[in-house]
């Protein structure tokens, strides 16, 4: 059978790393180090993540793949290892679900003196939401039940700049910077 290279369906991903060290109990010789979450065009992509680990204190090039929706590790052929990892999976899911996320925000182009008004999806119910930046009369409203952050204000006379959205939940903080340009 011939292998056909799929050059058509390009999938460009970046991986965001979430530190696990000390937050998940080790199992025998395995220490769980971090989770790599795939992102595509700034948005989280797929329910799968990769859990990086050390074996006998040596960081491995390989990772354990995990389906976060199902709370299970994938592709583990060793039954004994699979049994051990099964107990760890819910702890990793809990850590991932405690991280608040800011949805897709595109860089903005605005007109002078025109009030801006846009909405940003925020997931995982953060405790604190704040917006900081050079907007006149900056107003933001976190609509918790809908998971939406509404931002209003007028761009100042600067021709370009950046404002930052910060969300916090317990000790987890997520920031996203949005560039804007005045035309």
């Amino acid at each position: 059978m011939k292998h056909i290279v799929d050059n058509v369906n390009k999938l460009e991903l970046t991986f965001k790393t979430i530190d696990l060290e000390g937050r998940v109990p080790s199992t025998d010789a395995i220490e769980f180090l971090s989770v790599e979450e795939p992102y595509r065009e700034g948005r989280r992509y797929s329910p799968f993540v990769r859990v990086r680990y050390a074996l006998n204190g040596v960081k491995q090039d390989k990772a354990f793949p995990m389906d976060v929706d199902k709370g299970i590790f994938l592709s583990i052929d060793d039954d004994a290892l699979e049994e051990k990892l099964r107990k760890i999976a819910p702890k990793i899911v809990e850590i991932l679900n405690s991280i608040p996320e800011i949805g897709q925000v595109y860089d903005q182009t605005w007109s002078v003196d025109k009030e801006i008004d846009f909405k940003v999806p925020i997931s995982n119910n953060p405790d604190i939401v704040s917006v900081h930046g050079p907007l006149l009369g900056l107003y933001y409203n976190w609509i918790k039940d809908d998971g939406i952050l509404e931002i209003k204000g007028k761009p100042s006379r600067q021709t370009s700049g950046e404002f930052t959205i910060i969300v916090k939940k317990r000790n987890q903080e997520t920031k996203k910077s949005v560039s804007f340009e005045i035309i």
Partner: protein, 199 residues
């Protein structure tokens, strides 16, 4: 003729073992193919399963290949998506099952006394089931009851059956019971992540 796909991540079993030579076999072919096993297979991913998962969707199989890899697939070491073709009649000894239909036919009719498979939360509850990572807060919302009918506060009911239906639909999943002959594996697509960057 029906076409299905299966992803194989780098260095996983079906990446290291060539199904075009040995066919596809389940992890536990000796186990009886009951609906309970089917539900466990899809919603809990148990290894002790007599089923082989396939997808109708190439995109789903590709994501399994790319993201269930032990190493990130590259052009020099790609993951694989196998294309599996069944002619009519099916090869002897195999059954192809639609898990949604298999689960649905076991669900009780509405007058039955006992727990329903449906949830008892808001219309947004299902969003939490479909996408728990981004919308998991909908799973935790208080299950509202009629006035004077309040009991202990609790989140809405999520049955294993409903979870299985949602997960099977997420993956456009089809199950095969029995060994898939090597002759049914007609193509292998090499897939890789484009320019991965670690942040």
């Amino acid at each position: 003729m029906s076409i299905f796909y299966r992803g194989a991540g780098v260095d996983t079993y079906w990446h290291l073992n060539n199904p075009t030579e040995i066919g596809f076999t389940a992890r536990a072919p000796e186990v009886a193919p009951t609906t309970v096993r089917l539900i466990q297979h899809i919603s809990r991913g148990t290894n002790n399963s007599p089923f082989i998962s396939l997808s109708i969707s190439y995109a789903v199989a590709r994501d399994y290949a790319l993201l269930s890899s032990l190493e990130i697939p590259t052009p020099s070491k790609p993951a694989y998506v196998y294309e599996i073709e069944f002619q009519n009649p099916l090869p002897s000894g195999i059954k192809v099952l639609d898990p949604v239909k298999e689960v649905a036919q076991t669900l009780p009719l509405p007058p039955t006394i006992g727990p329903a498979y449906q949830h008892d939360g808001s219309q947004e509850f299902l969003l939490g089931v479909v996408n728990p990572r981004n919308m998991g807060h909908f799973l935790m919302q208080h299950s509202q009851q009629p006035p004077l009918g309040e009991g202990t506060p609790r989140p809405p009911n999520l049955s294993l059956e409903l979870e299985t239906l949602v997960r099977a639909l997420r993956d456009a999943e089809i199950l095969v019971y029995g060994t898939i002959p090597a002759t049914c594996v007609v193509n292998c697509f090499d897939v890789y992540v484009d320019m991965p960057l670690l942040e």
